[in-house]
């Protein structure tokens, strides 16, 4: 499972290089790959650090390349991000454990289904957003900033929920 996570990390880091293969992107990509590799082996927070850096690399590559939005590639990268987090986490759980029959197959099947559904959903959403942006002119930047703030609040709420009173059955 760790090999699969490593392959996904490689895809995540190398995708921006296809957009803008500049020295700064390569440098950021290298750092992100090292952090992701360490994160896969050591702990999820390190992996998250690597992914944050990979997203920075992606943003830099997009900024340097310019041009029209590449939404299909972005959807694939988003699915890779989710799967990288989940495979690395599962790999850590499966380490030094007896694995029952069919656990890996069921897990890979679940990820494949999730990836396909999420990818399709994200494509539909981005297509809808493109269509809407063609007809409507909204202050997108401020809307996205508001969404980011909302997500940050949700993150804090989730953190509190994780540390707070657990539910019992």
């Amino acid at each position: 499972m760790r090999r699969l996570a490593a392959v996904l990390a490689l895809i995540l880091v190398s995708a921006p290089l296809l957009i803008a293969p500049s020295t700064s992107v390569v440098a950021l990509g290298g750092a992100a790959l090292i952090l992701c590799g360490l994160g896969i082996l050591v702990a999820t927070p390190v992996l998250v650090g690597g992914m944050v850096m990979a997203l920075g690399e992606y943003a830099l590559a997009l900024r340097l390349a310019g041009g029209t939005p590449r939404l299909e590639g972005a959807v694939v990268l988003g699915v890779v991000l989710v799967l990288l987090l989940e495979t690395a986490d599962f790999g850590r759980r499966a380490q030094h454990a007896a694995i029952g029959r069919g656990v890996f197959v069921a897990q890979i099947r679940a990820w494949a289904v999730f990836g396909a559904l999420t990818g399709a959903g994200a494509l539909v959403a981005s297509a809808a957003a493109s269509a809407a942006s063609a007809s409507l002119r909204l202050p997108w930047a401020s809307a996205v900033a508001a969404a980011g703030a909302a997500v940050a609040l949700v993150a804090v709420a989730l953190a509190l929920a994780a540390a707070g009173t657990p539910s019992r059955d």
């Binding site: 999820t44 927070p45 998250v48 944050v52 997203l55 992606y58 943003a59 997009l62 900024r63 939005p69 590449r70 939404l71 590639g73 972005a74 959807v75 988003g78 699915v79 991000l81 989710v82 987090l85 989940e86 986490d89 599962f90 759980r93 499966a94 030094h96 454990a97 007896a98 694995i99 029952g100 029959r101 656990v103 069921a106 897990q107 679940a110 999730f114 999420t118 990818g119 959903g121 994200a122 959403a125 981005s126 957003a129 997108w140 930047a141 996205v144 900033a145 969404a147 980011g148 997500v151 949700v154 993150a155 989730l158 953190a159 929920a161 994780a162 657990p166 539910s167 019992r168 059955d169």
Partner: protein, 424 residues
């Protein structure tokens, strides 16, 4: 069951928030689209199962084993409903060491399916080992939420001390009235020929020594030595211990006691056990297989019990410490209270042998090697020697046993010297 979000959910949200921030800063729509699968993935939260979805049973290949033996633990998981991902963890007590398989497992189960999970452990130290609780964690497929519970599946394993075979043992100076394996000085019914004397009416014809009778033209009979058993009392010092488990002075003392008890009982001797801690605990001398088990049960629960109480040996009842018994005291000679008890026993005229497992190699094995540790151990060796000399001057036989050497080798010197003493 306690259900909570995992750190993975927080990681997903963190990466998603960072993507949105970058999207705002760079003004590129791709970064917002990248975040969409992450946020969609969060919709899967809340699908971890319940503790009622499965049942656990545990079996162990043996309930009673000796130190160093291995047992296989088999946990059977049966699902009453579909279980996406079940993680089971069975913490092992320090007296067990994992040698095969894993004590943590991940399973996914269909409804009605049963899965067997097995692993092998080695019992490294004597005692009653409780394999009590299995910790279960039910994950959703994404790993975003987990429900945790502990399931009590009680099972007790008895690990008895390993008894090494001993061929030569310290022979007792005094015998008892029952039939045994020692050749007694008294003549009577037996197998070992002794003196020859003139025939008197009442002697059995089968005892006539025909060779001597033909030579002297008078009837002579052969007298035989009686074969008797002995009472052996093992006195175990549980006042203190040194070293690191599973090789503390108490552990090696108990192994030695188990070996001595087994060997003496095999010779038809009556063996008793006195555990010299604060308050005495004892097993009265007896023989037979049932008594062997009784002694091993007592050794199983023997442990250091800190106490300021010092009991007098005189308090031990006569039937527990018979006056003609050979007393083998097993002690690292760390506590002066035990020295006093030894002196008391010697003064009361007991046939006393002290087997002293040296704590120094056991402690050295547990600490980091250094020059100061070397000096301390050398000083300790001198101090031990001085104490042993002091006891020897009082007529107490002491065997200083370096535990790296087999017990039989340590006893070898003593058996020879005692044989000489008995011959004199």
């Amino acid at each position: 069951m306690t259900t909570r979000l995992t750190p993975l959910a927080l990681s997903v949200v963190t990466v998603g928030a960072w993507g949105l921030v970058l999207g705002v800063l760079s003004g590129r729509a791709e970064l917002v689209v990248v975040v969409v699968p992450l946020l969609l993935g969060l919709l899967r939260v809340g699908r971890a199962g319940s503790s009622r979805d499965f049942t656990l049973t545990r079996t162990v290949s043996a309930a009673r084993v000796f130190e160093g033996e291995r047992v296989t633990v088999i946990v059977t998981v049966s699902a009453t409903r579909r279980v996406a991902l079940l993680e089971l963890f069975e913490p092992l007590p320090p007296t067990l060491r994992l040698v095969g398989g894993h004590n943590r497992g991940l399973f996914c189960l269909r409804r009605g399916q049963s899965v067997e999970w097995r692993y092998e452990v080695e019992c490294v130290r004597r005692g009653r080992v409780s394999l009590g609780t299995v910790h279960a964690r039910l994950w959703d497929r994404a790993g975003l939420e987990a429900g945790e519970t502990s399931i009590p599946v009680a099972w007790q394993l008895r690990v008895y001390p390993r008894a090494l075979p001993l061929r030569r043992l310290p022979g007792p100076r005094r015998m008892q009235a029952f039939v045994g394996n020692y050749v007694a000085p008294r003549v009577g019914e037996g197998l070992e020929p002794g003196d020859i004397r003139a025939f008197v009416p009442g002697d059995r014809v089968r005892h006539v020594n025909w060779r001597a009778s033909l030579r002297f033209r008078r009837l002579f009979v052969t007298q035989y030595h009686q074969e008797r058993n002995a009472d052996v009392v093992l006195m175990l010092d549980t006042l203190t211990e040194a070293g690191a488990p599973p090789d503390t002075t108490l552990d090696v003392s108990i192994r030695a006691a188990a070996a001595l008890a087994t060997a003496y009982l095999a010779r038809k001797d009556r063996v008793g056990l006195i555990e010299y801690c604060g308050p005495f605990r004892w097993v009265r001398p007896n023989s037979g297989r049932a008594h062997h088990e009784r002694i091993f049960e007592a050794l199983l629960r023997a442990d250091v019990m800190f106490s300021y109480v010092t009991q007098e040996v005189a308090l031990v009842p006569r039937r527990i410490l018979p006056p003609q018994a050979l007393v083998i005291a097993i002690s690292p000679l760390l506590d002066p209270r035990f020295d006093k008890a030894l002196v008391d026993l010697a003064a009361r005229g007991f046939d006393l042998v002290v087997l002293s497992p040296s704590p120094i190699p056991l402690v050295r094995r547990a600490i980091r090697a250094s020059a100061s540790a070397d000096v301390a151990c050398r000083l300790w060796t001198l101090e031990r020697r001085a104490r042993a000399d002091g006891l020897q001057r009082l007529g107490i036989t002491i065997i200083d046993w370096d535990t790296a050497v087999p017990l039989e080798a340590a006893l070898g010197g003593l058996t020879r010297s005692r044989r000489r003493e008995v011959a004199r």
